[in-house]
Amino acid sequence: MTITMSKNLLAAAATLADMTIGACARVAGVRGKPALKHRLLEMGVTPGCRVRLVRVAPLGDPLDFELRGYHLSLRRDEARHVAVEGM
């Protein structure tokens, strides 16, 4: 129990990859390699933006998010780089 707790603490805040289907959250920050980070920001995944996880692809990846009035699909690996709050 305590071990998982500290692991979670190390992994810091929740990310888009941790959301459950149908849940909404607010983007807290974007991390990751410059190319990915820049692309995500340009697609409108900016701090403060509201995001909803709509569905998961049949094979378990990628994910389909709704934000700013459109659907954006990200792989789990990419979604992990977007920290969220207020799930």
């Binding site: 340009e42 697609m43 409108g44 049949p58 094979l59 378990g60 954006l72 990200l74």
Partner: protein
């Protein structure tokens, strides 16, 4: 009143660029504004499609619209973005700077669409916004104030519904208004002072290098600051090195001033500014409404139903291509035979009429025969794109493709290769990353196409003459599977070596579903077919004529008979009995025989084939002799030592050379080599002849080991001029098709050798 747009801008014609995000409905708008008469080509030096047409609703008709690549940004991180930026700034060679820009916005997600739009506004060109797909926005519960949107950004805004043509009449007046309004009155997204200072400095540097003027300097500088220096991008940047250096220096200075992640800062700043501006423009309904599109997606991306529908759609696509293309291809083949007959009857017999009929007409046939499959495949692809299903296909299949380092978007092009590699390679244009596109093109020919089937059929029949159909089907399935697995394996290898690069990002928009419209779909089919004919067709035609000549010359002396000359030395036992058997009524050449399936194809060495179908068995032997005597025949003998380890002799070598224009020609060539006449009409006769054929050493030529080895060879070897031509066109360099041919040759040779040796060890060579 009748003043045209062009005269209001000056005496010369007016150029208007049409920009917008992907899926904003930009293409529909462009088609609607220009009609069907377009100039379609590529931007100089790259394989990004460029379309240009005249604005229909402008009475003077001198306003030219240029369709820009659909992008989300002008940061120039991808080739499309780079072209879009360079067109707007006049940095693209041969492309004059546009006088005005129409920016198409998807009304449902204005923020993200305006991100690109405001980058364009920063360049201080006259701009008109089209707020498109207003109907869908309304369905989503959005209320957009067009007046407020216009005031917020200082540009004329026209609400449009692209597929219904609504709002199109207002575009010309709006353009006039934009051209008449000074751009200085527009608000700009202000940056902090220190950023503005460095941008201004970089802007002055651009002006000094003639890359910008006072108007565009700030916007251009901000675009250059947007892209981190350390990020590797696989684009050929046309900018002088000193500009890149100046941009990096500015970034370094700004990093010291506290903006260590300048790119992120610039993007976020712009979005913040946009969100502020839009606060009073867009009103959202309190309750989230589920759109029709969302409901469709619940089925089409469902765990079970989604995959089942996907499989059904893919199957329907293939069934249609396989079965619908065949009659059309048959027509092409009949037309070729008819024209060949016409040429021969109109012209006196001789080299000229032979060349026209068997070189040129058959060569054109070799090109045109691809069209049914290209048209059908692009009909499907255009519909899948337009409905929005293409993005879902990538969404469903990405998990599989990512395993080998590719993007979900590579799936459909590769799958298309099972019908025909040529349109499959042409379909790779939707893949954004150049490396992934190349990797997809490089493995595409490993997937067995339908042209290989005739070869597979005859070889499998030779391997399993008595076995049950299921055994044969099993072997056929195995070949297909081996091709697919190998394609994936090699893609993974290429992505780790020659085309090393990170697995592409997936970050992809899933656009709302839409009903496809007939005209744009037909437009895509037409453009693709035309592009193929012009770009690849000439190459295929030339190759066909050269190959014909190789089989035509030199001609043996007419007095040479089967009993003497070079022929007799090599295969005396072969030529004579073959003729004798046929003369003894072994088979009756049928004058009404259907043209070869391989067809157009087969007739490329048709001087012989025709002689055989129409003439006596003695002529058939003569045709075989001619083939042996020709350059190709000699070449076959020259490479015989190279082919021997695979279990082949020179006759198979000739078949391999002949089938370089198209694999299925192997069958008709064997027909000539073994004096059978129309190989397809007389398949059983050909098979019998091949079964009894002996090597010089007195062993059966088509032993199981040899056939297995040939099967492997044809699965893996790059035996298709069309594919090479298209790979050359789509990669923009002759190096890639050369590499393609070379690696596949090595692979095919190695694998065929191993197959022969292993099979021989199991006693299948006798």
């Amino acid at each position: 009143m009748a003043q045209t747009l062009a005269t209001s801008a000056g005496p010369k014609s007016l150029r208007v660029a049409v920009a917008g995000n992907p899926n904003s409905g930009k293409t529909t708008i462009f088609n609607g504004l220009t009609g069907m008469r377009l100039k379609v080509g590529n931007y100089a030096g790259v394989t990004v499609e460029r379309r240009e047409g005249r604005l229909r609703s402008d009475p003077g008709g001198r306003t030219v619209l240029v369709d820009m690549p659909g992008t989300y940004s002008l940061a120039a991180r991808s080739l499309d973005e780079r072209i879009a930026r360079d067109v707007l700034l006049g940095w693209q060679p041969g492309e004059p700077t546009p006088d005005a820009v129409i920016v198409v916005l998807d009304a449902s997600n204005l923020e993200r669409n305006l991100y690109l739009a405001t980058q364009i506004l920063d360049l201080n060109v006259p701009v008109v916004f089209l707020c498109n797909m207003m109907d869908i926005a309304r369905q989503r519960g959005l209320t957009i104030s067009i007046n407020r949107l216009s005031r917020a950004f200082g540009v004329p805004v026209v609400p449009t519904i692209g597929n219904k043509g609504e709002g199109f009449d207002e575009i010309v007046p709006a353009l006039k208004q934009a051209l008449a309004t000074p751009v200085s009155l527009r608000p700009n997204c202000p940056m902090p002072d220190v950023v503005e200072q460095h941008a201004a400095q970089l802007g002055r540097f651009l002006v000094k290098h003639n890359l910008a003027d006072a108007r565009t300097a700030r916007g251009a500088a901000l675009l250059l600051l947007l892209r981190p220096c350390e990020v590797e991008h696989d684009l050929d940047e046309p900018l002088p090195a000193e500009v890149d250096r100046a941009a990096c220096e500015a970034r370094a200075a700004l990093a010291e001033a506290g903006y260590d992640d300048l790119s992120s800062f610039l993007v976020q700043r712009r979005y913040e500014w946009l969100d502020e501006r839009l606060a009073t423009v867009v009103r959202r309904a309190a309750v989230r409404r589920e759109t029709v599109s969302d409901r469709i997606d619940r089925v089409l991306t469902h765990k079970v139903l989604g995959l089942a529908t996907f499989a059904a759609i893919m199957f329907a696509m293939f069934a249609a291509i396989f079965w619908m293309a065949e009659p059309a291809m048959g027509l092409v083949e009949q037309a070729v035979v008819f024209l060949q007959g016409a040429v021969h009857s109109l012209l006196p017999a001789g080299a000229l009429s032979d060349m026209l009929a068997d070189g040129v007409v058959a060569g054109v046939g070799n090109v045109v025969v691809f069209l049914p499959q290209i048209c059908l495949l692009f009909l499907f692809i255009a519909m899948l794109e337009d409905t929005g299903y293409m993005a879902r296909a990538a969404f469903l299949m990405d998990r599989v493709m990512r395993r080998v380092g590719l993007h979900g978007k590579s799936f459909i092009p590769l799958l298309s290769c099972m019908a025909c590699t040529v349109p499959g390679i042409m379909a790779t244009r939707t893949i954004e990353s150049r490396r992934d596109r190349l990797a997809t093109i490089m493995v595409a020919p490993l997937i067995s196409c339908s042209a290989r089937l005739p070869v597979y059929f005859i070889l499998i029949a030779l391997i399993f003459p008595q076995e049950h159909t299921w055994t044969k089907a099993g072997l056929l399935g195995g070949i297909y599977l081996a091709g697919i697995l190998l394609a994936l394996l090699i893609a993974a290898v290429l992505k780790k070596t020659v085309l090393r690069g990170p697995t592409p990002m997936f970050v992809m928009e899933l656009p709302p579903y839409r009903l496809p419209e007939p005209l744009p779909v037909i437009r895509v089919v037409w453009d693709r077919a035309r592009a193929f004919l012009i770009r690849a067709g000439t190459f295929i035609l030339a190759a066909s004529i050269i190959l014909w000549a190789m089989f035509y010359w030199p001609r043996p002396d007419v007095t040479v008979t089967a009993a003497d000359g070079a022929v007799a030395q090599v295969a005396p036992a072969e030529a004579a009995p073959a003729g004798a058997e046929a003369a003894g009524g072994g088979f009756e050449p049928s004058p009404t025989a259907a043209p070869p399936l391989a067809g157009a194809a087969g007739d490329q060495i048709g001087s012989n084939a025709r002689a055989v179908t129409e003439a006596s068995p003695a002529d058939q032997a003569a045709a075989a002799r001619q083939m042996e005597y020709s350059i190709a025949g000699r070449l076959g003998k020259t490479i015989e030592p190279l082919l021997e380890p695979l279990g082949y002799d020179w006759r198979i070598g000739v078949g391999i050379i002949a089938s370089f224009t198209a694999r299925e020609i192997f069958v008709s060539t064997m027909g000539i080599v073994f004096s059978v006449g129309d190989a397809d009409a007389e398949e059983t006769a050909l098979r019998r002849r091949m079964q009894t054929a002996m090597t010089a050493g007195g062993k059966p030529l088509f032993s199981r080991a040899t056939c297995l080895s040939l099967l492997v060879f044809y699965t893996l070897a790059m035996q298709c001029v069309g594919t090479l031509a298209v790979a050359w066109r789509e990669s923009g360099s002759w190096r890639w098709p050369l590499f393609l041919w070379a690696y596949m040759a090595v692979l095919a040779y190695g694998a065929a050798f191993a197959t022969y040796r292993i099979a021989a060890a199991f006693g299948l060579a006798a």
